[in-house]
């Protein structure tokens, strides 16, 4: 049996290590795990000190008193250990006040029962005075609650092992070293306590567990100084993974092998027009049968949710365990609506361009043959007119491509009043026969500069295609809180319905002239700038309503 002097020296070393490590951890606040480590070291030191006082105490009452107060340290130790590991490992969701209160419940009951043990004897059933090596020690017979708190202590200790074991296999060497050092710090007192409880340590009733905490303190000190315990911390790993999963732009759905939804992020829930709570635990076939059929198919991977204009590219990856067995799959939904829309617009642009060019070329070819044999001024004029139209078509396509390019850039904001004033004046100068009226709204509204092109195009088109005997164009502004509405009305012949369909739905339509370009530029430009456009048209005129987001006021 080790002499009393050796045990006391070991306990003193345990206190010295505990206080030192506690202070070093205190300096690291508020890094995750620092405060629980301070508590852990404080509890260890408290227990060790109480044990020394118990050995040194002269009277039986004093010895019993120090045994009783040692329970504060004994019960706080596993709680502090668990909280330390949870914080250090990044499991902060389990370290809220509510959780801490829950974890502290059994220790609190224990301390109450220890202090009132004389009335119920739930912790101890009796005591025995032991004389060894000139020291008087008290040995108490454990009762039912003693084993409850012992089991609870081991449960918390082992729960704390889980995140640690996860880090032992980390790819980051410093985390591996840290966790190995901390595991050593945990196992030393655990093994010592087990050996003591089952009578394998001849320590004359002195629980040597706090002595073993010297190893814990040293291991923590080593982890602090050598492995930068708080210098490099694995805490963000779990949060980053979770945050990445929750905040990623793609929707993600985790399915088990039976296609049961086991997890999904907010984006996926939004795409499927459901909530996580509603979808979890249900079969994907019940949540979204269309998606399930796409996920399993080899060809088409585009998902168009019902009652939704957006399109998603569906990809799938298998989940396997360490034995390479498939345990589920992850379906990701990548929003390709913008890509789709752009592709659609380019197709429309291409169709209109080819249609107009082909029409002009056919006219030119037809009349060129005639001009080869006949000298006709009229035919020459037609040829010239068609050549000009080809040039204009090219110019209009160039304008639309410019709008697409602008859409990819960071744009400045302009005052709406300045935009409209400029457009109205320019149109009035270009078309003097048309009466252009402008009812200006507030002068401080600022909008996306892309609306400059859009407004210019709408106002100019209204004047250009107006074949009325007394043509007029009226421009009005209706300001709102977040949006501003610009209305451009004219008394022209109206827009053909098939041309409106072209920009509103992108449907295949044989065009008769190039006005489709103007409509396309208006609709697409407004959309790219975050606004919208609506057309009301009949034989008595057209009213184009542009709704624009207000970018500010100045």
């Amino acid at each position: 049996m080790p002499s009393l002097v050796v045990i006391k020296l070991a306990l003193l070393a345990s206190i010295a290590a505990g206080i030192s490590v506690g202070l070093l951890a205190w300096r690291e606040r508020p890094k995750p795990g620092s405060v629980p480590l301070v508590l852990l070291m404080a509890a260890q030191s408290w227990w060790s000190a109480a044990l020394i006082f118990q050995v040194q105490a002269a009277s039986l009452e004093a010895k019993l008193f120090f045994i009783d107060i040692s329970w504060v340290g004994v019960t706080l130790l596993p709680v502090a250990w668990l909280l330390f590991v949870l914080e250090y490992g990044g499991y902060n969701e389990y370290t809220t006040r509510r959780h801490v209160a829950g974890i502290m419940l059994v220790p609190a009951i224990t301390i109450f029962l220890v202090l009132t043990n004389d009335y119920h004897q739930l912790v101890y059933r009796g005591l025995e005075i032991i004389e060894r090596n000139g020291a008087t020690m008290v040995s108490r017979t454990p009762a039912v609650w003693f084993w409850v708190i012992a089991a609870y202590t081991y449960l918390l200790g082992l729960l704390g092992l889980i995140p640690m074991l996860d880090l032992v296999t980390s790819q980051v060497r410093s985390f591996r070293n840290q966790s190995v050092a901390l595991l050593l710090g945990l196992f030393a007192p655990l093994v010592t306590n087990l050996l003591f409880l089952f009578g394998y340590l001849p320590t004359a009733g002195i629980d040597p567990t706090p002595v073993a905490f010297t190893v814990s303190g040293t291991a923590c000190l080593f982890a602090l100084t050598r492995f930068e315990l708080f210098g490099s911390s694995p805490t963000p790993i779990r949060h980053a993974r979770r945050a990445l999963y929750k905040q990623m732009q793609e929707g993600a759905i985790v399915l088990d092998t039976h296609d049961t939804v086991v997890d999904m992020n907010d984006e996926a829930a939004s795409v499927l027009q459901t909530t996580r709570e509603e979808a979890l635990g249900r079969n994907l076939n019940d949540v979204s049968p269309d998606l399930l059929s796409i996920g399993g198919s080899a060809g088409n991977h585009v998902f168009n949710p019902p009652k939704n204009t957006r399109s998603y590219d569906v990809s799938e990856s298998q989940l396997t365990d360490i034995h390479d067995r498939t345990i589920g799959r992850i379906i990701t939904l990548h929003d390709i609506s913008d890509l789709f829309r752009m592709q659609q617009r380019l197709e429309v642009l291409h169709r209109v361009f080819r249609h107009n060019i082909r029409t002009n070329i056919q006219v030119i070819l037809g009349h060129a043959g005639h001009l080869a044999t006949h000298n006709s001024q009229q035919k020459a004029d037609i040829l010239k007119q068609n050549a000009i139209e080809i040039e204009e078509t090219g110019e209009k396509v160039r304008n639309i491509i410019d709008v697409f390019e602008e859409g990819r850039k960071d744009r400045e904001n302009l005052r709406l009043h300045a935009i409209l004033r400029e457009c109205v004046d320019a149109t009035a100068r270009s078309y003097p026969d048309v009466t252009v009226e402008y009812d200006p709204g507030p002068e401080d509204i600022v909008v996306d500069s892309l609306f400059d092109i859009v407004c210019s195009n709408v106002i100019e088109n209204a004047a250009q295609h107006n074949s009325s005997s007394e043509p007029w164009v009226r421009v009005g502004v209706e300001p709102g809180e977040e949006t501003v509405t610009v209305q451009v009305a004219d008394n022209g012949p109206g827009i053909e319905s098939h041309e409106l369909a072209l920009v509103e739905e992108g449907t295949e339509t044989p065009l008769k002239h190039g006005s489709g370009f103007g409509l396309a530029l208006t609709a697409w430009g407004a959309d790219i700038a975050g606004g919208s456009v609506a057309f009301e048209s009949d034989s008595s005129g057209t009213c184009v309503t542009l709704e624009m987001p207000v970018a500010g006021r100045r």
Binding site: L11, L12, A13, I15, A16, A17, G18, I19, S20, V21, G22, L23, L24, R27, S45, A49, I52, F53, Q56, T225
Partner: protein, 303 residues
């Protein structure tokens, strides 16, 4: 052929110069470490506990070592906490602390751990007393009160700041050796406590003379900030006169022996000399001199 005595003289002076340079090179880092890390205060604390042990006729115990370790830990931390304020008032000390801040903090932590562990040998009261300097330093140095609170940090309150430090210092010096050996409190202990409290109070205010610019900026109220150097000198004269009167009364009442009274009087004279020199000699020299003012007793006994 006769040797030129001039050569010998030159050779000796070169040797002397080399020796002086070597001593300077070796001695300067040691001096810096002792002075700037507050290690010298640990030796002073140990010496003072030894003095009290002798004054109260107590058996030798680990109390001087505990006092030394706790003093080093608390003052080491204080140096770290004040490093920014020291940039203006004590740039050399601030530079040393910045260079060695991790080592200084680690050593302070280990010193506190060892101090507390050794205090356990003195029983529960000594164990509790070992935490007192740390807890009080936290209250003193930390801004525990939120901004806008009606209470100000203790460090900034006139007289209360110095009183707090002096009270804790005097408790440690006077009662730790008593508690350690489990002896009853002797009749002379309260007078010894008051003496140590008063001289420690003076020791806190003396360095404030040099720090008054920085303290004024930081909003810390000290005697030199509020009353100026002359005012501080007069206040400390008054304090020393009061202490001398208490020692005199203690001797007259038979509570203090002749040797004890003589020893305390020598200390008061040393401190009086330091106070007289306030504002007239470099303050860093006076600070160390004031802190060493109680040690002559020990030197007299040793001799």
């Amino acid at each position: 052929m006769q040797a030129n005595p001039q050569n010998n003289v030159n050779g000796l002076s070169v040797l002397y110069g080399l020796l002086q340079a070597w001593v300077y090179r070796l001695g300067r880092p040691v001096r810096d470490a002792l002075l700037y890390s507050s290690a010298y205060l640990a030796f002073i604390a140990a010496g003072e506990v030894l003095i009290v042990t002798e004054l109260l006729s107590l058996p030798l115990s680990p109390a001087p070592l505990v006092a030394a370790l706790l003093t080093f830990a608390v003052y080491g931390n204080d140096r770290l906490a004040d490093v920014e304020a020291d940039e203006k008032t004590s740039p050399a000390r601030a530079a040393f602390v910045r260079r060695n801040q991790d080592l200084l903090y680690s050593l302070s932590a280990v010193a506190y751990g060892l101090g507390v562990a050794l205090a356990v040998l003195g029983g529960p009261v000594a164990f509790a007393m070992a935490f007192l300097p740390g807890v009080v330093w936290l209250c003193y140095a930390s801004d525990l009160f939120p901004d806008g609170a009606r209470l100000r940090p203790l460090k900034r309150v006139l007289i209360l700041n110095s009183t707090l430090v002096a009270a804790v210092w005097a408790v440690g010096m006077t009662f730790l050796p008593i508690v350690f050996v489990g002896a009853p409190i002797p009749a002379s202990a309260p007078i010894i406590y008051v003496f140590f409290f008063g001289t420690a109070f003076a020791n806190v205010e003396i360095p404030n003379v040099g720090d008054r610019g920085g303290d004024r900026e930081a909003g810390v109220e000290t005697l030199p900030v509020v009353f100026g150097v002359d005012g501080t000198r007069k206040a400390l004269y008054g304090l020393l006169a009061l202490l001398a009167a208490i020692v005199g009364v203690g001797f007259g009442a038979g509570v203090l022996g002749l040797e004890t009274t003589a020893g305390l009087s020598v200390s008061l004279l040393c401190l009086l000399t330091v106070v007289t020199c306030l504002g007239r000699i470099r303050n860093d020299i006076l600070t160390v001199a004031a802190e060493c003012s109680r040690l002559p007793i020990l030197v007299i006994w040793l001799l």
